[in-house]
Amino acid sequence: MNAGTLKAQGLCKAYKDKEVLHNLDLTIEPGKIYGLIGRNGAGKTTLLGILTAQNTKNSGEVTYDGQPVWENQKALSDICFSRELQPTLFSGPNNLKVKHYLKSAAIYYPNWDLNYALRLMDEFKLESKKKISQLSKGQMSMVTILIALASRAPITILDEPAAGLDVVVRERFYQLLLEDFAQTGRTFIVSTHIIEEAASVFERVIILDEGRILENAETEELISQFRYVSGHEEVVDRVCNGLQVLSTQQMGRHKTVAVRGDMVKLEAALEADVDVSPMNLQNVFVALCGHGDAQ
C-alpha cells in the first residue's frame, strides 16, 4: 500500500476569538503507527479534522503528496478519519442504523473491505439493525474501529478508539491494529488518553499541548531521555545541575525530580547516592504536559 506523506505547515485555527492551534507544523511519514496524545482541550480532534479536510483552518496548509488536501478527491479517498461517535448527539450519524452507517463508509472509501467489516461485526457482536444512538459508548467505539480498519485507507486516523472499551476489547483492538499493520504497512494515527497500554504499539508519538506540537519522536527514543532522580535534596540538586528539571516533589529533605537530559549525564547520576529510575510514556507525558496541575 503506497501512502503519501501528510504534511501540515503553519497551521492556525481559532474558534471565535480563541486560538486552539498555534502555527503548527507536523509531518506524518508513511508506514508508521503514530500515537497522538494530549490533554483535554489540547486540540487533538481539531488537528485531526483539519489534517483530513473535515474541518476548516484559519491559515497554513495541509498537503498530501505535495498537493493540498482541501477538496482533493485523491487525497480524501486515501485518508480515513474515523471520528469518535458521541452518545449525546441527536443528529448526524446517530440516527442511522449501524448497517446504513457502514454502507455510507463503503461508498466513501474506495478500498473498503466488506468481508473484513463483516468479520469485525461478528467479532464485536454488533447488531446491524440497531441505531447508532442505541449503542453503548463502548459499542460506538467498536463501530469507529470497524470503519477505520475496514476502510483499508493508506492513512487511517482513529480518534479516541479506546474510549468506553473494556480492557479485553482494548487489548484485542491493539492486536487487530498490529495484525493489519503487519499485513498492509499502512499509516495509522491513533489518539488516546489511555497512554501506557498503547505506548508499545506506537512507533512514534506526537505530544500536543495547548495547540502546539511538543514532541514528534520515536517513542522509545523519547522515553529514554527521561529519569526520576530522588534522594537528599543537596545531592539531587548537585546531580541534576545542567539537566532540564521538569517537575519537583519535596517531602522534608527528600526530593524527587523529573529530569530530561543526555544519556551521559543521566548515567553520571547513577554514581551518586541517589535513586535513579526510568519513566514510562505516561510519566513523560505528565512531566511535559502536567504544568503543575497534578500534585
Partner: protein, 125 residues
C-alpha cells in the same frame, strides 16, 4: 519466549534480553530459528519496528544472524557470546550497586566478602 514486558526499561532492550535468556536456557539452540519481528509484535502487542530494534541489537552483537528470505537464526557460539556480554556488564550492573548498598549500611569490606562467600556456599548446597 516467556516472561512479560514491564515498564522498567525500554521495550526493545527487554525483547533482546528475553531472547538472550532463552538462548542461555536452550529454548533456542544454535542454528535454530527465532520468532520473526511480526511474531514478536503479535505475541507482545508491540510495534514491529520496536521488535526489529531488539533483534537488530542481537545481530549487531553477533548473537543472531539473518538468513535472507527465511528469517533470523541463532549464531554459532551465541550462548558463549551472551555470557561474555553479560559478564562485562556484571560488574557495573551487580557488583557496584552491591558495594554501594553495603557502604550505605556501613558494612565493612570483610563483612561484605564473608556474606558473598556465605551466599556462594548456600548456592552450592
Amino acid at each position: 519466549m516467556r516472561g512479560t514486558l514491564n515498564n522498567q526499561s525500554l521495550i526493545y532492550l527487554q525483547i533482546a534480553r528475553m531472547l538472550e535468556d532463552d538462548i542461555l536456557r536452550g529454548v533456542y539452540r544454535e542454528e535454530e530459528q527465532v520468532p520473526s519481528t511480526n511474531e514478536l509484535a503479535r505475541g507482545y502487542n508491540i510495534n514491529p519496528a520496536t521488535a526489529a530494534k531488539g533483534i537488530n541489537l542481537l545481530v549487531a552483537d553477533g548473537i543472531l544472524y539473518k538468513r535472507r528470505g527465511i528469517g533470523m537464526f541463532v549464531a554459532k557460539g551465541a550462548g558463549e557470546t551472551v555470557k561474555q556480554k553479560r559478564k562485562s556488564t556484571f560488574y557495573d550492573g551487580f557488583v557496584k550497586p552491591l558495594v554501594k548498598e553495603g557502604a550505605s549500611l556501613e558494612l565493612t569490606g570483610e563483612e561484605l566478602v564473608s556474606m558473598i562467600e556465605q551466599a556462594i556456599k548456600e548456592e552450592r548446597v
